[in-house]
């Protein structure tokens, strides 16, 4: 394959439904074979820029274009197949039921003869190190494997430029490593031009030659070698939410003194439906003012365990026992509590915030819990007011929750659980895919909750979160699940 070069001249794009341009005034030359990390604060239009390079922004009915964006000297939209794009959500990249068919899909669309497709499929799967049969089911793959599958699907089309939109944001540390190594191998082997967008720069910093920072007010804020840009722009980037090497947040060590037990497990085995997923052999205890972190590889049953501790799923066998202090008059089995009893005792923050939104406005969303508890309207209003301030959502009080940014949605989803003041807060991957700004806000909020005596249970891969919350670890293994209080 022949590496492609990219040229932008005064380029900008405004989505049809928006008033402001997503990107504007970009002048950029990326020579063939260069490896570029594209950065910028949330809302700087990085994804739009990538979709523009991939020629996927569509025609005049989808938005308004300014200037030109060229791939090998022709408008990118007419160079289909020269650019290959991998998206952030591993679930979104899988198109067909079998691995081989999925990789072949792009080649078919390019009109490649059948006898040339299958050798390319095998070659692409080899290049990304995905060693599974062609007939293997795509739904059984892990997140990291799905992203490598998407990469193979792109690679089989032999693109001149590979575009990656936060390809590792939703992956566990193993998945991140797998994908990064696969990308490195294939750009080394093919010499293709590479443009990556990612908040977590440390993953890509030593693989790219150049860092370009988009300015949210238009144009380019910084451009140069990784070391150069990180040195000159590090503080500004970190303030804009980018994880820059050497600019990780320094939090004072947390003084925790976990108090009384609120929840404990007894020979607990969790699962969904008839399928048992994980066993917690040693009793795990959730204490007031303490954090319990559930860790382990993908598919180990972490979410299922968290939802079981949260009283949302019944255990397969064994028990989750609520101590009298938490149960406060209700039964000692959280799975048998009514929805309303659960509300003031255990709050849950789901992995996907959109799953838990119920109202059409942010303020109403926060009021759902207090209202369900039957609090008088003055108290409901006071709690909503307080949370809007605390979560910096006050100016969005009337906005629709679905229209918020990723970080705002995450804060709101935590707020909906806090509104009913539960004794235990269960969070599923609260920092997944969050930029540095949201990450720091969240961690500070969780530390405040600990100081106030709440108990936290959090599913996480994020070592920095574990440290910041001084969390006790419950490690689930893929093969032989064991409880392992640290």
């Amino acid at each position: 394959m022949r590496p492609a070069h990219l040229t932008a001249r005064g380029w900008g794009w405004r989505h049809a439904a928006r008033r402001d341009f997503a990107v504007r005034g970009v002048d950029l030359d990326i020579p063939a074979g260069q490896r570029v990390l594209l950065l910028g604060p949330s809302g700087a239009g990085k994804s739009t820029m990538l979709q523009g390079m991939a020629g996927l922004l569509g025609g005049v009915d989808e938005g308004e274009e300014e200037g030109v964006l060229l791939l090998d000297g022709v408008p990118s939209a007419s160079a289909r197949g020269r650019a290959g794009l991998v998206l952030q959500d591993p679930e979104a990249g899988v198109l067909l039921a079998r691995v081989g068919d999925d990789v072949a899909f792009g080649c078919e669309n390019l009109g490649l003869p059948r006898d040339r497709i299958w050798p390319r499929v095998s070659e692409a799967l080899g290049a990304v190190g995905l060693d599974v049969p062609l007939r293997a089911s795509t739904s059984r793959l892990s997140g990291g494997q799905k992203q490598r599958l998407a990469l193979a699907g792109v690679l089989a089309m032999r693109p001149g430029v590979i575009l990656l939109d936060e390809p590792t944001a939703n992956l566990d540390p193993d998945g991140v490593g797998e994908v990064r190594d696969a990308v490195e191998r294939l750009v080394d082997a093919t010499g293709a031009t590479l443009v990556v967008v990612e908040h977590r720069t440390e993953v890509w910093a030593d693989l790219v030659d150049r860092v370009v920072v988009l300015d949210p007010s238009g144009g380019i804020a910084a451009d140069g070698s990784p070391a150069d840009v990180f040195r000159r722009e590090g503080d500004r980037l970190a303030a804009g939410g980018v994880w820059v090497p050497g600019h990780t947040p320094h939090l004072p060590p947390l003084q925790v003194a976990p108090g009384a037990a609120l929840l404990r497990t007894d020979s607990l085995v969790v699962g969904r439906g008839r399928q048992a997923l994980a066993a917690v052999e040693l009793p795990a205890v959730v204490r007031s003012g303490g954090a319990l972190a559930v860790t382990g590889p993908n598919g180990a049953g972490k979410t299922t365990l968290a939802l079981t501790l949260a009283g949302l799923l019944p255990p397969r066998s064994g028990r989750v026992v609520a101590e009298a202090r938490l149960a406060a008059g209700a039964a000692d089995d959280p799975a048998r509590w009514t929805s309303r009893e659960l509300l003031s005792r255990i709050g849950t923050v789901f992995q996907n915030p959109e799953h838990q939104f119920l109202a059409a406005q942010v303020a109403d969303e926060l009021a759902v819990g207090p209202r369900a508890l039957g609090l008088p309207e003055t108290q409901v209003a006071a709690r909503v007011e307080e949370l809007l301030e605390r979560l910096s959502l006050a100016r969005l009080a009337a906005a629709n929750p679905f229209t918020l940014s990723g970080g705002e949605k995450r804060r709101l989803s935590v707020g909906t659980a806090l509104a009913s003041r539960p004794g235990v807060l269960v969070l599923d991957e609260p920092t997944f895919g969050q930029d540095l700004v949201t990450w720091t806000e969240l961690v500070l909020l969780l530390r405040e909750l600990l100081a106030e005596g709440a108990a936290l249970v959090t599913v996480t891969h994020d070592g920095a979160v574990l440290d910041a919350l001084a969390a006790e670890r419950l490690v689930l293994g893929a093969a032989a699940p064991v409880g392992e209080p640290a």
Binding site: R80, L95, C107, L112, R114, W118, L313, L358
Partner: protein
């Protein structure tokens, strides 16, 4: 989809388009008349052919259970409320069982079985990807339509997970104790919002792989009709013909359009 993991059976090696054609032939022949002769001849011949499908009995029972249940229920409805003729045996409120409704009920039970059983057995082994290949390459349906539907089908499993998460989230939010109907409506709307979002991401992912690009699309997996497929369609035509001829010859043929 389940078909990917299903153990191979003899029928799995026939082209899905042939299965579609075979069940179509039987269905068309059997809905043209409402008599019991054509239905019972077709059902008898189908039961004789069933062992050749190679589906293990246990699996066959499990998957066809819905047909065995639906048939008598449909029959019962016709028996109680069907068009009356001949002697009336029971007359109670709206219920009126007559010679005519008894005959019609038996014919209907047989007909549901004769159409439903082969359809279920044939589609038991249909792999959605192979069906899409066949529909595009043999039936020449537009690729955009066929592949769009195929990719959307994969999302169904994701929607199932979404639905379960929405349900748990409503319990966690304290609103799951009352208002079942209203909650269901709200949950359905939330799923719709998520579905639209997932759909548009899917479209982007497909376009990112050159879907919809100008020029002719090729197909990595050939879809052909062979001897096995011809035999399947031929068998269905023979059963349909035998059923119609037997019915006409015995004077029971009762063409629906002519009533």
């Amino acid at each position: 989809m389940t078909a990917v993991d299903a153990p191979p059976v003899a029928l799995a090696r026939t082209n899905p388009v042939a299965k579609l054609a075979a069940s179509g032939v039987l269905a068309v022949a059997l809905v043209l008349s409402l008599d019991w002769v054509s239905a019972s001849v077709a059902l008898a011949l189908e039961l004789l052919a069933l062992p050749f499908a190679g589906v293990p009995w246990r699996r066959l029972w499990r998957r066809t259970a819905v047909v065995w249940l639906a048939a008598p229920l449909t029959g019962l409805t016709i028996l109680l409320y069907g068009q009356e003729s001949g002697t009336v045996h029971v007359d109670w409120l709206l219920v009126r069982i007559s010679d005519g409704s008894i005959e019609l009920a038996i014919a209907t039970v047989l007909r549901v079985l004769a159409i439903g059983l082969p359809a279920v057995v044939l589609f038991l082994t249909v792999d959605p990807t192979e069906l899409a290949d066949g529909l595009a390459q043999l039936v020449r349906l537009p690729a955009r339509f066929v592949l769009g539907a195929l990719a959307a089908l994969r999302l169904l499993a994701v929607f199932g997970d979404d639905w379960r998460a929405l349900e748990l989230a409503r319990r966690a939010r304290g609103v799951a104790d009352r208002g079942r109907v209203r909650r269901f409506a709200g949950q359905a709307f939330a799923l719709l919002v998520l579905a639209i979002r997932r759909g548009s991401t899917l479209a982007t992912a497909m376009e990112a792989r050159g879907f919809g690009a100008p020029g002719r699309r090729t197909w990595a997996r050939p879809s052909r009709l062979g001897g096995r497929d011809a035999a399947l369609i031929g068998g269905a035509v023979l059963i349909a013909a035998a059923a119609v001829i037997a019915s006409v010859a015995t004077g029971h043929w009762n063409f629906i359009a002519g009533r």
